[in-house]
């Protein structure tokens, strides 16, 4: 019987406090009935008792069957939970890029590694907080027994569903948020003279040349238009002819501008040291400028590729 008591105590440990006494009492009665039936065939040994208990199942499993655990988030709400989490993390990423860029541009030590490190650590911290907050919110609804998705799933209409199309027609949220983060980053870099203090500005070693700065500022409306285009994509998240045409126009503008910038000179100027001096003791300004030009040409290939790709897609849609 000591073995039986140990088993019941183990089951009770896995149960909520208010159910332990009652379930323990009943479980003991059931096990004793089984043992009584077995003992009619002869005296029971400890191994026979152990076999009966083994057949009952592990105490955790038995406790779980008596009092099934309630999921933290109702299963119907999991897709909405994932979607909400993704949207919020996307926004946080964008904000972190903005904040990180601000700090990076304002610092005297313009290390790219530090910028990425700051971005990653800041985003992870915010993401943990967001995950906890969203999880707790969904849990509070689930705990009341009112799944959030229930009513939404009843309001849909078949006519409002998007038409069947190829896989590329679906716009993923991650693409939109990455684009938005990139545009914000560019605007911050271009307009740093507006939001940075004069001490921070004076502390920078290398800056854009006056010409390059002017061209970049004239390009800002295109960047703002790109952001508007991304927000438009968020509305339906399906590539239509109009969206593809708008995207092609924007990418063509980017590609052309980047190539133009790559071949205009000078791009950079040394604020503190003389033009021939070495930057951080390793590179000259001329070398930096050359690398920047190559980078701009390579970068221009990405929007250039997207123009061609979207053109082909637009043709497929237009002549379907």
């Amino acid at each position: 019987m000591e073995l039986v008591d140990r088993y019941i105590a183990a089951v009770q440990r896995e149960l909520p406090e208010n159910k332990r006494q009652e379930i323990g009492r009943e479980l003991k009665a059931n096990i004793c009935d089984q043992l009584d039936a077995l003992s009619e065939q002869g005296e029971l040994t400890e191994s026979q008792v152990a076999a009966v208990l083994k057949q009952m199942g592990h105490p955790c499993k038995v406790a779980q069957q008596f009092v099934p655990s309630v999921p933290i988030i109702a299963s119907e709400d999991i897709p909405l939970f994932k979607h909400t989490l993704f949207m919020v993390l996307g926004v946080l990423f964008v904000l972190q890029v903005v904040g990180g860029t601000t700090q990076w541009l304002g610092s005297t030590e313009g290390s790219l590694f530090r910028f990425i490190q700051h971005l990653a650590s800041g985003f992870i911290g915010d993401a943990c907080l967001a995950f906890t907050a969203i999880g707790l919110s969904f849990w509070s609804f689930s705990a009341q027994g009112k799944p959030i998705s229930g009513s939404n799933c009843q309001k849909w209409q078949p006519q409002n569903l998007p038409k069947v199309g190829p896989g590329w027609q679906h716009i993923s949220l991650s693409d939109v948020f990455v684009d938005l983060a990139t545009y914000l980053f560019l605007l911050l870099v271009i307009w740093c003279s507006v939001w940075m203090s004069s001490e921070q500005l004076a502390a920078r070693t290398v800056i854009f040349s006056a010409n390059a700065q002017q061209w970049l500022q004239w390009f800002s409306p295109i960047i703002l238009l790109s952001m508007g285009n991304s927000m438009w994509q968020l509305r339906r998240r399906v590539w239509t002819s109009e969206l593809l045409l708008a995207n092609m126009g924007i990418n063509l503008a980017y590609a052309s501008f980047l190539v133009f910038l790559a071949f205009s000179s000078p791009l950079l100027q040394n604020q503190v040291q003389s033009q021939g001096a070495e930057f951080q003791g390793v590179f000259t300004l001329l070398q930096l400028e050359q690398w920047l030009s190559y980078s701009l040409v390579i970068t221009a290939m990405f929007p250039g590729y997207e123009v061609i790709r979207d053109g082909l897609r637009w043709r497929k849609l237009a002549y379907k």
């Binding site: 009492r25 009943e26 009665a29 004793c32 009935d33 057949q55 009952m56 199942g57 069957q65 008596f66």
Partner: protein
Amino acid sequence: MTSSQLVKMRLELRRGVLVLAVLGLLKQPHYGYSLRKQLQDGGIDIDEGTLYPLVRRLADQGLLDSEWRQAEGRERRYYQLSSLGAELLSQLTDEWQQLNGALAFLLEQSADTNGSDMNSLDESAEEI
């Protein structure tokens, strides 16, 4: 199909009828072990880890009444159908009979179709 897949599917198939079987037997009062014995004698083998929690859940849902009784030097918890449970049993019994009839018909049709396919194959073989 692997044996574990078969075991899972059998469990799925039995899960639905178990509630009906338990409610049906509890028109008369039973305690846990005696209920299991009755089910086994009737051809439904169920392990204790499934039956006892199931009976408790049905009681928590108000479908069963229960009381502790002293007998043969020990206490046991006896369960019996409540009025709500009796109503549900009647509805589930009708549902079961409908399903049973429909399934018997479908399986018979399926057997007839297989049989006629086999006959036509045999005839084709004979012609050849």
